[in-house]
Amino acid sequence: MVELEIGQEVEMEYGGSAKVLSVIGSGGQGTVYLVRFNGMKWALKWYDIDKMKKPKEFRKNLQNNINDGPPSNKFLWPKYLTKETEDGTFGYIMDLKPEGFDSFVDILNTYKLEIDPLTGHAVKRPVKFNSLNAMVTAVINIVNAFRQLHRAGKSYQDLNDGGFFINVNTGAVLVCDCDNIAPDGSNFGIGGKPGYMAPEVVRGIAQPNVQTDKYSLAVVLFKLLFRGDPMEGEKVVKDVCLTESSELKHYGQNAVFVYDPNDASNRPVRGIHDNVIKFWRIYPDYIKDAFIRSFTTGISEPTKRIIENEWQKLFIRLRSEIIMCGCGRTNFSSMFVQPNPKTFKCPKCGMEFASLGFSDRDYRMPLYLGCRFYECEISPDSDDFTKVAGELVENKLKPGVLGIKNCSERQWKAKMPDGAFYDIAPGKGFPIWQGLEIDFGVIKAQI
């Protein structure tokens, strides 16, 4: 492996050169350097060519990806290739990770190590989502990014916890390490990370593709929500030492989901898997059922794995079921008491929340000050889960009066206590009351 020296100039394919400033990190395939190119700072990934199985094909694929461009702005995509050195070594440059993003690994560990440059001592800094909304938004963003990628006919191949950066304040997601992305059906040597790889890849009977990506995606989602490994329970812990053959067994030949309803042999162990035990009690059944399907029938039948669009719908629902109670308790509506089908009650302070039922779905959205619904929830053709369409606010001129503000760009109709429907223009609002009905156009809602 040819390492680059600090200060070295690396020639770029289409002229110019990038000057190596420092090392950012190293991974299984090579090293990432901070470089200066055209007056700007970039990240340069420089490959360890000895570890590559098909360097020529790999470079060609990278070139194709650069030409195609990223499926969306959620990807830290390769920008320019370097020239090849005499022995065929090469690299590519990409944008630097923007400020404010933490790695998925740090989120899972709940802290990151910051090394004091003078003493070399490591200090732990907490890393945590600052709201439940940001966390569920991050999940939706991850799912959506892979939906976009798969729609572009490509697969990520080695989806794992090293592949994302997340903004814990907003839930924004950046997919990194995009250099192994390849057209579905092709593979240029990457196998993946055990624990994230689909069982058929672990067993050596399939190569990474869109279907195996779906399995890995389910693992990523499970880890983010349940903070544990879906296949690591009592059966695995009994082995004590994770040897190569025990990994083949527990993640390949005999992978058993920790909450497999038909096989209790691998349940989480208290003291080791406390997170999973706790969160399995918190998430609503439709989320748990999706994971059960992913990790039971989805193990042996790749086509039965949950598709990204389905995940996206489930998590948009989950986001709409968050309740932030005035007493400080924030949780999903399933963790609130339901005195009647239309009302949620905080088990801690007793506060009650009315809810909105939409004509196209059989679950209800709890209403609380600050709650929002999104464009995709009021128009059937929209896939926009980030644009706020409506928000529950307090009337600025009549304190204490709550109503829904139309944040969308279209006119709605709302039924008032006099029984008539009134036009609600963008930017306007209307009070909520017992018999409220809203007409968004195709979709309708009522309290």
Binding site: S131, V237, C241, R267, P268, T330
Partner: protein, 288 residues
């Protein structure tokens, strides 16, 4: 064997070194039906995902012949090495380090493996003879679920890195035999570094089980290079799950993956070492 500086670990019943990976007390819990407020139900409060642990054992010869430049170089490179290994382990594996020194006596640097974040190198001094066999026995004793490898969650097989500059002065085979019956040793990643002309690579290969994971350093510069290569590479491989050969085209069996990591370690060490040696062998008039 005397261990005057060694504090006895609290639990140490397993003295045979035969540790068949007996399971930790696993308590299977069925979540009881309970009302929403019976437990911490904050969806945002989580502890870190349970990480796998990896212990890196350094077995270091501190006999009299190591005195002077060798020991100075070794101390310096080990101090510098700790931050590099820290970077390797911080992701999803908790890396711990244990250092066993052997001369006339066998002695642990600290009485328990120390997390890499908190590890500080205590400079070593050299004197006495090379009791390698005693070191093997002591290692075997501590590589046990009841002793140094007592992490409650899953462990990767340990990394064991032996450095010596001389021929063992005791019956190393007897010690090795004991070590070889230890399951952690069997599955562990083993590498060895011979320092100077006296160190016998055949003895080291007996320890590691293959010649690929034995390297030799003849100068101070090489010593520093080799220690870094072996320690960083073995920590990288040891702290991760195995990566697969994905072009076999047939279903993998246990025999395909058996000691896959040890083989990979051998390959990578040989590659890295040959690169370094080439660097040093370039004639003065080429490469300009």
């Amino acid at each position: 064997m005397s261990n005057e500086n060694m504090t006895e670990p609290v639990v140490n019943e397993n003295t045979s070194g035969l540790d068949d990976f007996e399971p930790a007390a696993a308590e299977n819990t069925a979540p009881a039906a309970a009302s929403a407020l019976d437990f911490d139900d904050d969806p945002l409060s989580a502890t870190g995902v349970s990480r796998k642990s990896l212990v890196i054992f350094f077995l270091i010869d501190t006999s009299g012949s190591m005195k002077g430049k060798k020991m100075g170089e070794l101390n310096t490179v080990m101090e510098e090495l700790i931050p590099e290994i820290r970077r390797v382990g911080e992701a999803d594996t908790e890396v711990k380090v244990a250092v066993l020194t052997f001369s006339t006596e066998v002695r642990w640097m600290y009485s328990t493996p120390i997390a890499i974040e908190d590890f500080e190198w205590a400079r070593l001094r050299a004197s006495g003879v090379t009791s390698m066999g005693a070191a093997f026995k002591e290692l075997s004793l501590r590589m046990s679920r009841n002793s140094y490898l007592n992490s409650p969650s899953l462990s990767f097989a340990p990394v064991i890195f032996l450095m010596t500059d001389g021929y063992p002065s005791d019956d190393y085979r007897e010690g090795l035999k004991e070590l070889q019956s230890n399951s952690w040793y069997k599955f562990g990643l083993k590498a060895a570094l011979g320092i100077g002309d006296e160190a016998n690579d055949d003895v080291l290969a007996e320890f590691t089980g293959s010649k690929d994971t034995v390297v030799h350093a003849y100068s101070g510069t090489q010593l520093a290079q080799m220690i870094k290569i072996i320690a960083v590479t073995s920590a990288q491989i040891g702290s991760k799950s195995m990566t697969l050969s994905d072009d076999s085209g047939h279903e993998l069996g246990e025999e395909d993956v058996f000691s896959a990591k040890q083989k990979l370690l051998g390959q990578q060490i040989q590659e890295l070492v040959s690169n370094k040696v080439e660097d040093n062998d370039v004639p003065f008039d080429t490469g300009w």
